[in-house]
Subunit: 125 residues, 3 copies
C-alpha cells in the first residue's frame, strides 16, 4: 500500500529515511541537498548547487515513476535571504511554465555548507 | 490531471510558482504573505498582516474551488517567537471551531518586513 | 468528508488546531512537541524529548486509526544543528526499516525550551 524508493546509484542516505514514498497516487520526496558521488555535501558555485539539488529531486521522482511536471508542491529552504534572487533565477529555468505551488523560507541545516534543500510532492494518479 | 490556479485580481507572483495546484482531490496553496494591491509587502499592524495573509490563503483556495473549512493542514511561519500569542489570537477567530492540523515554527523570510507566511492543504474530494 | 481527531487523555492544545485530520485516505498530524501530563513543555534529557515527541505523533496517528508504518512523510524541526546526530540515533531505533520520507531543518520554536518538533502525513487508504 505504501511503496518506498531509492534512486539507483545514489549513495545510501546517512540518515534513516526513504528518498521517496508513494501512496494514494501521491509521491513524497525527502528534502534533497546537493552532494557529490560519495554523498559528500557539495562545495562551490550556488547556481550549480541549486541545479544539483533539483537534479536529486528529479532522480527521486523518477525512481517512483513520477515526472517533474507532476509536482504539485515544492518546499524550498535557503540558508540566507540573499539567496532568493539567484535561487529563483535557476528555479525559473527549471519550471519555465506551469510551476508547482511553493513555499520558500530561510532556515539552518544540519551541515554548515548546505545553502539549499528542496522537498516535493507529486501526483501520479 | 494537475490543475493550477491564480486568484483573479492578484498581482502576478514575482517568483515562479502557482498560487494553488489541485490533484487527487487535494488543493495545495503556496506560502502566502500579506501584500497590498501592487504586490508590495504589507507594512503596519501585525494583526492586520495576519488577517491579510489568511485572506490571501482563502483567495487561493477559492480560485481552486475550495472553502476554508476544507483545509486539512496549515503550515505557519513566523519571524519571531514573540508573535505566537498575537498570531494565535487572530487565527482562533478565523477558525472558531474544527480547526485544521497545524505546524508553526520560527524562520526568516526573503523580505525583511514579512512577519508571517501561511501555506495550506485542503481536501475537496 | 474531513475528520478531526484529538488523542484521548491529551491535554487540550493551547493553540487552535486539531491534533490530526483525515481526508482522502491521508492523515495529517500537527507538529508535536514533548509535554508532560499537564501540557507543560518537557525539560530534560534530549533523547527522552525525542521519544516523547514521537510517542505524541503516534498517539495522534492512533486517534485517527493510523499506524506508524503508514507514515509516508515526516517533517522534523530541530532547534540546533548539533542535535541532528542524537536525533537520528533515536529516530533510527523507532523506524528500524522502511522509514518514511523526511525533511529535517533547524528553526526556532514558540517556546524557548523546545528542541524538537515533528509533524507527519500517513496514508490509511
Amino acid at each position: 500500500m505504501i511503496e518506498r524508493f531509492h534512486p539507483e546509484g545514489f549513495p545510501t542516505p546517512p540518515v534513516p529515511l526513504s528518498s521517496a514514498t508513494k501512496a494514494g497516487g501521491f509521491v513524497f520526496v525527502s528534502g534533497q541537498v546537493a552532494t557529490d558521488r560519495d554523498g559528500k555535501v557539495f562545495l562551490g558555485d550556488f547556481a550549480r548547487e541549486v541545479e544539483d539539488t533539483l537534479d536529486n529531486v528529479e532522480a527521486c521522482l523518477a525512481a517512483a515513476g513520477a515526472r517533474p511536471d507532476q509536482i504539485v508542491k515544492i518546499g524550498a529552504f535557503l540558508s540566507n535571504a540573499t539567496l532568493f534572487a539567484p535561487f529563483n533565477e535557476i528555479y525559473r529555468r527549471r519550471f519555465p511554465s506551469a510551476p508547482p505551488a511553493r513555499t520558500t523560507v530561510v532556515v539552518a541545516f544540519g551541515h554548515p555548507d548546505v545553502r539549499v534543500e528542496i522537498e516535493a510532492i507529486a501526483y501520479v494518479g
